[in-house]
Subunit: 262 residues, 6 copies
Amino acid sequence: MTSARPYYVPVGNEEQVFKAAYHQGLSVVLKGPTGCGKTRFVEAMAHDLGRPLITVACHDDLTTADLVGRFLLRGGETEWVDGPLTRAVRDGAICYLDEVVEARQDTTVVLHPLADHRRQLPIERLGITLDAAPGFGLVMSYNPGYQSVLKDLKDSTRQRMVAIEFTFPTPDVEEKIVATEAGLAPDRAADLVRLGQAIRRLETGGLREVASTRVLIAAGRLIAEGLDTRDAARAAIAGPLTDDPSVTRGLMEMIEVYLADQ
Amino acid sequence: MTSARPYYVPVGNEEQVFKAAYHQGLSVVLKGPTGCGKTRFVEAMAHDLGRPLITVACHDDLTTADLVGRFLLRGGETEWVDGPLTRAVRDGAICYLDEVVEARQDTTVVLHPLADHRRQLPIERLGITLDAAPGFGLVMSYNPGYQSVLKDLKDSTRQRMVAIEFTFPTPDVEEKIVATEAGLAPDRAADLVRLGQAIRRLETGGLREVASTRVLIAAGRLIAEGLDTRDAARAAIAGPLTDDPSVTRGLMEMIEVYLADQ
Amino acid sequence: MTSARPYYVPVGNEEQVFKAAYHQGLSVVLKGPTGCGKTRFVEAMAHDLGRPLITVACHDDLTTADLVGRFLLRGGETEWVDGPLTRAVRDGAICYLDEVVEARQDTTVVLHPLADHRRQLPIERLGITLDAAPGFGLVMSYNPGYQSVLKDLKDSTRQRMVAIEFTFPTPDVEEKIVATEAGLAPDRAADLVRLGQAIRRLETGGLREVASTRVLIAAGRLIAEGLDTRDAARAAIAGPLTDDPSVTRGLMEMIEVYLADQ
Amino acid sequence: MTSARPYYVPVGNEEQVFKAAYHQGLSVVLKGPTGCGKTRFVEAMAHDLGRPLITVACHDDLTTADLVGRFLLRGGETEWVDGPLTRAVRDGAICYLDEVVEARQDTTVVLHPLADHRRQLPIERLGITLDAAPGFGLVMSYNPGYQSVLKDLKDSTRQRMVAIEFTFPTPDVEEKIVATEAGLAPDRAADLVRLGQAIRRLETGGLREVASTRVLIAAGRLIAEGLDTRDAARAAIAGPLTDDPSVTRGLMEMIEVYLADQ
Amino acid sequence: MTSARPYYVPVGNEEQVFKAAYHQGLSVVLKGPTGCGKTRFVEAMAHDLGRPLITVACHDDLTTADLVGRFLLRGGETEWVDGPLTRAVRDGAICYLDEVVEARQDTTVVLHPLADHRRQLPIERLGITLDAAPGFGLVMSYNPGYQSVLKDLKDSTRQRMVAIEFTFPTPDVEEKIVATEAGLAPDRAADLVRLGQAIRRLETGGLREVASTRVLIAAGRLIAEGLDTRDAARAAIAGPLTDDPSVTRGLMEMIEVYLADQ
Amino acid sequence: MTSARPYYVPVGNEEQVFKAAYHQGLSVVLKGPTGCGKTRFVEAMAHDLGRPLITVACHDDLTTADLVGRFLLRGGETEWVDGPLTRAVRDGAICYLDEVVEARQDTTVVLHPLADHRRQLPIERLGITLDAAPGFGLVMSYNPGYQSVLKDLKDSTRQRMVAIEFTFPTPDVEEKIVATEAGLAPDRAADLVRLGQAIRRLETGGLREVASTRVLIAAGRLIAEGLDTRDAARAAIAGPLTDDPSVTRGLMEMIEVYLADQ
């Protein structure tokens, strides 16, 4: 779909583990916080492995039919239309289920025979069972920090997976990412990364989530558009992180401190 | 749709932030209480940017199909009809999701690939992925004062947004708005604004929401129609704010005090 | 629909407030207990203003489609059929949503753009937005005494409304109403009203609702049909108000006292 | 449907109250325990008034469409089929909603405009409002002893009703009923009634419901078929009343005592 | 369907009570634990009475349409297909609702007019009411030991029934049943029955259900197939009764004791 | 489907018990933890018995129609399509319901007449009852360690089953399995098994499930692909077993100890 390699800077051995699992036909689960680069990573892996990538954003109401396919009525005839998982199985694509813990467990259960040694997708509505085409790979992601205990990934699903853990990149890597993605001078990117790391060191009592690489890039892009640095940080960092007035005040003071001299 | 600029008086730098985010292709979330002018603001921005505006009032039962589209049966054939979000993506319009926290999280999840660097809308039912047309913008609003913790905006959605906070306008701006919108003499508008501000200073234990600019305008319009000032304030301000008899009595006394000499 | 003015005796300035709001295009909410005459009032206002009245009895399962319309399959074609709200918007009628707190909040949210300055009804299923015809008016009622906190009217809906409070009429007005509606001699109507007012003075611990004007009229009609006064009061007043044996006994004694000499 | 008057023996003035309410166009609610003759009473009243009777057994899943009607697909065309309530409204029949508290409140709300002075049935799906034909009457029943507080009849529904209370008949009336219905000699019917009344005098801690006239008749019919009296009482009275072993033992002893000498 | 009488050994007067109730047109409810022979009993009764038997296994999602029938689309026409209850009503068959407390109460409510003096089945979707053909009989079963209080049989349903209680057969009868059904020598059957009775004498704290005749037969059949007696008892008796390791150990010891010398 | 016998190493007498039950027409339930080989066992049994195997992965939303079949609309006609259970019944296949406690109880109730002496599948939608073809067998599995008490297997379902308990294989058997399945040298497989057994000896407070044979094989396959032993164990064993940072640290230390010298 895209011919240039998506911009991804590796942090550890995540690329080797992914590729070993892929070559062994093992499924992969990516664990890590929102906005740390999991989606980019899968895009880069699919590029390196030369496989098409089919991404499914999971959610509460995702049904098995949304993954596998359904009958549509056309010209008085019912016609079967493959879902994204079935397309990936037939085409030997990599299927990426983003935020899989959001999906209902009954939806993820269709993944079992795909994930284990059978590598098969039974499509009950058609009365057939597909063998996955060579090259097919199954990747899922979730954020272990979310406290959605009730919808946690089922053990029998997890045991069919190889897990790779993601954290935020190191400061120098993150500066490079923010500068590249926002089109910002390196020193201004470095200021934003210092602010982000200071926020991550806070006790997160009043914050729902720490400042991700993603919000630092957003702030950088507002600055590139001509906004004052502090206005940009307020709009792209403080605003999305909290609605609490006192926490907001605290973030505003940090913004003053870390971005004062610009 | 409307050729005159909608009446909107800026309070701070909200117009610059909005336009910088828009030009960077970043989505915007408007935070603020009911009735403080968020809808008007978006109408004015769409006018300034020369883009059509498509508004969706969010609610509990809003489905992904309501946003993206669905198949309708016509003449024995199923025919796809775009939803408002899809129309905005195809036409490069600004799509405004009003009170987005009312929507179920599974509905907002379709917004992720639109809100991040991909700017794509996957339409599973058609088996296609649309790239957003140039000019497309995504705007959402919510009221952080509502205590609907359970339906709060998902972090991964929030981190894809630039936030702009709204509060009620300053007294002089609000007087101008009430006078203009209700067709009222400036001094009578000033009385209503003083009453509104007094109510906002109250402890809000018995009040579900403070007196918004919107209810002050409604009172002004009843006065313009010939109702007694206090009758208008009772019907348009006290009545909508509470059902509690003792709180009602307190509001009635304030109405007597602030609107006595008319 | 009816050419004679519906029988309604005003209690205060409710008719002026209603008409001022209507002429200003503001929506109206009627607050008050069951059986105090809200429905009659709206019928009289529609008559005075010369507009057709479309009434919708709200309930738990009222869907947006029930208000706005839906597609029906006819002769192999889907055909759109307007709902009552859409008909009122197109025809410039007054639309009365009776007991609106019974409806789910997601249903009432379609009323927002109709209730504010836009006066528009977006019909997502048709992909169109209707401007309300001149004369359109939106009226809702609810009973603030019901403790259905969870389904209380949403603030953003309430703030778009002008409120009129209703209580039971004064004794002389109520006597006139009971006599007229039941076809009863004034003194017998007066006895029923005295009984009703005594019941309203009770602590309502064992009673679910006090004796409304409506049940007094029902008792009057049984008397007019030839039933003994006390038998009528038992069947039309005590029976509907409680299932509790001891509360029933108390009401029976009050009936003996207030209706003894007949 | 049946030309002989259904067998019903009046207990008090219930027949006069019913007929007065009917002639005044008031709806009637019958309150009383299971098995005391409410259904028979309505059959007798419909016979006396010369109106057809349409009975609807209410339950949890009864939808508005079950009462009012629905579209069915026939030969590629949708065809409207009236529900029982609509048939009663068109034909001027008496419509009897048995155990109405079982129905969801949203279902009963369609009854409001039928029950009050309007006597109209709005059929939203057809976009029409029917005026009830002369002779139409609305009757409901429920058992106040059931503790289904959550589904209790809505006040605004109750206030539109005239209530008639039912209890079990007096011993002599009940003996006549049991003998007639079971085809049993009067003295054997009397024994069963004495047993039934003794059970009704018990504290009902272990019994879910007291012995109704209906179970006494059932026991009588087993005796008429040749079963031993005590075997019949065990099968038709003790068995249906409890599953508790110790309560069962108590009932068995009472059966021995009251039916010993046969 | 079967021409030989199903193997059933009576325990008490259950056959007489059933036949008396059947001849009187009274419905029958069979109460008793799982696996004690209720299904066999109904099969034998239907055989003796020369009526066809239609069995419905009840469950949570059994709808009224599953019992009564539904429209199916065939060749562009909707065509009505009778459900099992309707077939039984039309054909004068015995309809057996197995484990009726599993069904939702709203489903069982359609049985009322069939179970009382009317013997009618109203089919709302067809707008007709069927009179039961001669020979129709209604039989239900449930297990009073299940603690599903919330779904317990409704009183108004129970009072329309004659109840027959079932327990496990006496040892000599049970030995005969196990030997016959499993094709086992009498003494080996007697050993299994002694084990079963010992388990039934246990406090059932750790056991969900006692050892039924059905599991004893299953063990017997494994022995007849050549398995070691104790292996058979472990697989067919201990395994199904508990998942608790310590309870399992206790059962294993009992198996050793009672089946040691084989 | 597969002509070579699936690789399965027996632990006890499970093969004899399965075959005896199958020949007696008794259903079988396999109890045991995730990843211990239940699916492989059924595949091997079906191979030995020469019967086709139809596997259904059970889940929360599995409906009776998913098992039994449904009508699909084709060319304007409804056409019945058998579900997997019906296919197994018609073809005399072995039907394996994997993780049956995930299914709703109402779904499993259709299995009763198949599991008892009737061996029949009633298909209500077709109005027919199928007799199971010779060779049909019913097998279910569940994990008793899951604490989903509410969805536990119904007693009347369990009593129709013969139970076989599974645990993890003994070390020597497990080493053989891991070496064979991962294509690993025996001593490296032995290291992984020693690590797995050490983890199983831990108190499982912080672990959701112990290390199954399945995760040991996955680690082995990553090693066979060239990954460092400890990286493989982290990705395939520690990652899937926990999200807890301190538990993760503990597992990492164990990995260092048990896999240090490689």
